[in-house]
Each structure stands twice: as structure tokens, then as C-alpha cells.
């Protein structure tokens, strides 16, 4: 279970006042829950993910994961608990390495990286199965570099990489924002399939309102530095596009 207690983030930026990006963020996410976060540009959503993943130390408050204070865990150990996919399709994978090398690297997240060969037939078998389950034919191209893939394929690999190792929390930050609408829908469907099948505790930021209403157990609106509104599953499903636009407009 992930608990955010009164998280606040202020960047001083050299001024005496500073800019408060987050203030009084409280959240409780149970195991297996899939929570959607929406909010305008610059609302602080990515900043919140940086806090949860331990990349950024909050000015106030605590991030507790299964009762452990994330600030007290060393950085490399945190990667054992937090899986993350970023918006930029180029930033979630290593372009000059092959699909297999990317997957083999991701497979060892949170484990000690030993002096043993990374290319084993056991791993090839596991990765081939996982790639096959994506249903986009990448299992036949394991030795191709990621640079040779399309944006959608790259993001699918980035997604697969993030879930190869177990995680306590999966953070998806606008993973479909850089893709065209059709590819965007299929990557989102793929993400949902994995999340539901594996019961991954997930937080997902999205700007795609169709995705926000169709997927996830509940939805939070981040505005004015805190969670301004919460929509339960049935509530958000009942939202019509125009109502949702109004919610955004009020901000």
C-alpha cells in the first residue's frame, strides 16, 4: 500500500517566496488498485511522480510504501519497489541496444547485477513469451536495436521493461502522449491488460480523457497544488466528455 502524507514541494528558484508546486497532498492507494491522475500542464503531476519514486525529496511530508518511509531507503534499493514509464518514448528505452539487451537490463531491476552472462536461453524464452503477448510481432525481432522501432513499438517495449521485475508501485506518466491516436489506444489497452492481469498497483497520469474515463478504478484531479477532486469508478464512467471538459475548465 502506498500512502502519501501531507506532501509539499517548493522550488526556491532563487526568489525569497519560491514557487509551491505541491501542497498538502494526501493519498492512500491499496494493493492492486489502478488510479488515474489528471491535471493541467504544469500542475505538478510529474513532480509528484518524482517524489514517489524518490528522485525528488519533498519539502514536507512522507511517502510510505508498505509502511516503509521511502526517504530512508537508499536510491538503488528504491528501484526494487518502483517501476516507471516516462512520456518521452526515447527516454524509456536504450536506443542503441537491442530489444533483448533492453529487456535483460530491465529484468534485473532491484536485483544485484552479477558477473554472470546476461544472455541466457532461459531469459530468451521468457522474453519471447512476453513479447508475443504484446501481439505486435516483436518476438521475432529480439536482436534488432530499439532505434529501429516505431514510437509505438518503443513505448510498448518501455512498458514491458517496467513490468519485467516485480514492483510495489507502477508509475505511468503520459505514456501515450507522443503517439498518434490509433497507436495510443492500442498501447493503452496493452498497459491495461498487463496491469489487470498482474494486479499491479498503478498510478497513471494521462491527458487523454477517453483513457481517463475508460480505465482505472478511480480518478484524481490535481489542481492548485493538491488533489482538488476525486471521482470514484462509477462516477467517472458516468462523466460525459462535455462534463469532463467543464471539470477541466473550472480549474
Amino acid at each position: 500500500m502506498l500512502v502519501l502524507k501531507n506532501i509539499g514541494v517548493t522550488f526556491d528558484g532563487g526568489t525569497s517566496i519560491g514557487s509551491t508546486i505541491l501542497n498538502g497532498i494526501n493519498l492512500r492507494v491499496c494493493g492492486g488498485e489502478f488510479v488515474i491522475i489528471i491535471g493541467g500542464n504544469g500542475a505538478g503531476k510529474t513532480t509528484l511522480f518524482n517524489v514517489i519514486s524518490g528522485l525528488l525529496r519533498p519539502t514536507t511530508g512522507q511517502v510510505m510504501l508498505d509502511g516503509k518511509d521511502m526517504a530512508k531507503i537508499p536510491a538503488h534499493e528504491r528501484s526494487q519497489y518502483v517501476a516507471r514509464v516516462v512520456q518521452n518514448t526515447m527516454a524509456g528505452t536504450m536506443c542503441n541496444l537491442t530489444i533483448f539487451e533492453n529487456l535483460a537490463f530491465a529484468f534485473t531491476r532491484g536485483k544485484r547485477r552479477k558477473l554472470l552472462p546476461y544472455s541466457t536461453s532461459a531469459r530468451r524464452k521468457i522474453f519471447a513469451e512476453k513479447l508475443e503477448s504484446l501481439g505486435i510481432g516483436l518476438e521475432k525481432r529480439m536482436n534488432a536495436t530499439v532505434a529501429s522501432l516505431s514510437g509505438g513499438q518503443r513505448q510498448a517495449i518501455g512498458l514491458l521493461m517496467s513490468v519485467l521485475a516485480p514492483s510495489k508501485i507502477l508509475l505511468l506518466d503520459e505514456i501515450t502522449a507522443a503517439l498518434d491516436p490509433k497507436i495510443s489506444d492500442s498501447v493503452m489497452a496493452l498497459a491495461n491488460k498487463i496491469i489487470v492481469a498482474e494486479g499491479r498497483t498503478t498510478l497513471m497520469i494521462t491527458h487523454n480523457m477517453a483513457h481517463a474515463t475508460a480505465y482505472g478504478d478511480r480518478m484524481l484531479l490535481l489542481a492548485n497544488s493538491h488533489f482538488q477532486r476525486e471521482f470514484s469508478g462509477p462516477e467517472k464512467e458516468a462523466l460525459t466528455p462535455s462534463e469532463l471538459a467543464k471539470v477541466f475548465g473550472e480549474v
Partner: protein, 283 residues
């Protein structure tokens, strides 16, 4: 160029090939332009020189020089990660300070002749000794790159963001790669010292550029960057570089002299870098 000169070119190529592997580890694998090398090469030569002179086992002298090089790399790693000094300047500072340390190691004299002392080449064929040593180093480092640990090192040079998200401690990875790299460069300096039978405070000048030339030639010769070829390509590149330089300096038509070496090497690197970039092909 006669056979003897070609053999001598291959020998020097093999020696600098070990340094080239080290330079490839930093410049290519972790994307860290490490300027420590000119200093750590002399450090290796100096440690080996002083130990050989005092009658130490020549293989033990090589081990000591390797260790010395590793410490020089560690120094650069610490200056960079803990004092937050840029990667370029960290190496330059270490190399600069190493000049004093190297002179101290050499007992305050700028030159140690080793005429008649027992070296790894005593009573053996130099080319055989060098080939075996080089093959051992190539085997070790090719294996290293084929492991999970090696893949983590490579990730640092590919994408710091992915590396961090997947739990690689970048400071540690940099320090380890710098240590391995400079250990190899120190070893290369020590072998050079025993091969040439003298240690000199200015022996290291140009190690970086020569090593880089070898790395680039290797990349052109093996454009398909399978991880298994990265390491051997450095050694092959280094040998090809020596033979190329040998022919260039010996050809009557060009009329080049030994002092033109730096000019030719520099131009070679510029041409290699300006040549159309290759993409790593799937193979």
C-alpha cells in the same frame, strides 16, 4: 617497411591495444571523456620501472602498475562524483597531479633505464608474450561486457534516465568503469616500460589520442557493434593504426618524418569522425 618493422609495429600495437580497451570503456561505454589516461599510463610505467630496477618479479610489477592505474581512476571518479567537478576537468586535474606523483614514484628522476634487468620479455619471444597477455585481457573484458554487470555499465553510457530508473548507482558505475579503464592503461604503460626498457616522465603524452584513434579504427573495421566485438576491435584497431603509421612514415613519396606522427594521428581521427556515421546494425 621491412618485416622487422612490421613485427615491432604489431608489438607496440598490442601494448597500446590494452590502453585502447581502457579508453573505450570510458569514452564509449559509459560516455565519460576521461583525461586521466596520459597520467595513469606513466604511473604504470613508473611503478613497473622502479620495481623492476629493484629486482622485483616483472609480472608482480605489472600487477602493481595495474593497481596503481585503478587508484588513479578512482581518484578521478571521486573528484567527479563527490566534489561535483565536471568529468572533463576531473580527469585533467588527476593527470596534472599525477605528474608530481609519478616523479615521486620514480624517485625524483625523470628517467629510469632498465638495461639488462629481468622483464616479462626476458628469454621469451616478445610477440608471443604480448599476444598471450592481450588475449587474456580481451577475454576477461569481453566476458565482463557480456554479463549483467557489464550491461549495467553500458546502460550508463546509453541513457542516464533509464539507468537510474532501473536502479543503477551512476556514481558507483562511473567509479568502477574509471578504475577498470585506468587499471588497463596503467598495465599498458607497465608493459610498454618493460618492452622499451626504460621509464620516462613524458612517456604518456598522447596516450589518449592514440588510444582513441585505435578505438575509432576498430569501430570502422567492425561496424556491426555486437557486444562481443567491442573489446577485440580496440586491439585490432590499435595494430592497424601502428601499421598504417609505419607505412605512412616509411613511404618515400609522402616524405613524412617521425615528428609528423601527431599531425597524421590527429588528421586520422578527424577523418574517422567526419566519415558518415554508421548505425549499429542488427546482427
Amino acid at each position: 617497411m621491412n618485416t622487422l618493422e612490421i613485427v615491432s609495429g604489431v608489438e607496440i600495437g598490442l601494448i597500446y591495444g590494452i590502453a585502447a580497451i581502457g579508453i573505450c570503456l570510458t569514452f564509449r561505454l559509459i560516455d565519460f571523456p576521461d583525461m586521466t589516461c596520459d597520467g595513469s599510463f606513466v604511473l604504470g610505467a613508473a611503478i613497473s620501472g622502479i620495481l623492476i630496477k629493484s629486482g622485483c618479479n616483472p609480472w608482480l610489477a605489472l600487477c602493481a602498475a595495474t593497481l596503481g592505474g585503478a587508484l588513479a581512476g578512482l581518484a578521478t571518479g571521486i573528484i567527479h562524483s563527490f566534489f561535483k567537478i565536471s568529468n572533463l576537468l576531473s580527469g585533467i586535474l588527476t593527470a596534472f597531479m599525477l605528474y608530481s606523483i609519478n616523479l615521486r614514484v620514480m624517485g625524483g628522476v625523470p628517467n629510469i633505464p632498465l638495461i639488462g634487468a629481468a622483464t616479462i620479455f626476458s628469454g621469451a619471444s616478445a610477440i608471443a608474450v604480448l599476444t598471450c597477455t592481450c588475449l587474456t585481457v580481451v577475454a576477461i573484458f569481453t566476458y565482463l561486457l557480456a554479463t549483467d554487470f557489464g550491461l549495467a555499465l553500458r546502460s550508463v553510457g546509453q541513457s542516464k534516465g533509464v539507468s537510474t530508473n532501473y536502479g543503477v548507482n551512476i556514481r558507483l558505475a562511473n567509479a568502477v568503469a574509471l578504475m577498470l579503464s585506468n587499471a588497463l592503461i596503467g598495465l599498458s604503460g607497465a608493459i610498454f616500460n618493460q618492452h622499451q626498457c626504460f621509464a620516462d616522465i613524458s612517456q604518456g603524452v598522447g596516450t589518449l589520442v592514440i588510444g582513441l584513434a585505435a578505438v575509432m579504427i576498430g569501430e570502422k573495421l567492425f561496424p556491426c557493434w555486437s557486444y562481443l566485438l567491442i573489446v577485440p576491435a580496440c586491439v585490432v584497431g590499435s595494430i592497424v593504426y601502428r601499421i598504417f603509421i609505419g607505412f605512412a612514415l616509411h613511404s618515400e613519396i609522402l616524405g613524412l618524418k617521425t615528428q609528423d606522427l601527431n599531425l597524421i594521428t590527429g588528421l586520422l581521427i578527424i577523418i574517422a569522425m567526419a566519415a558518415p556515421k554508421f548505425r549499429r546494425r542488427s546482427c
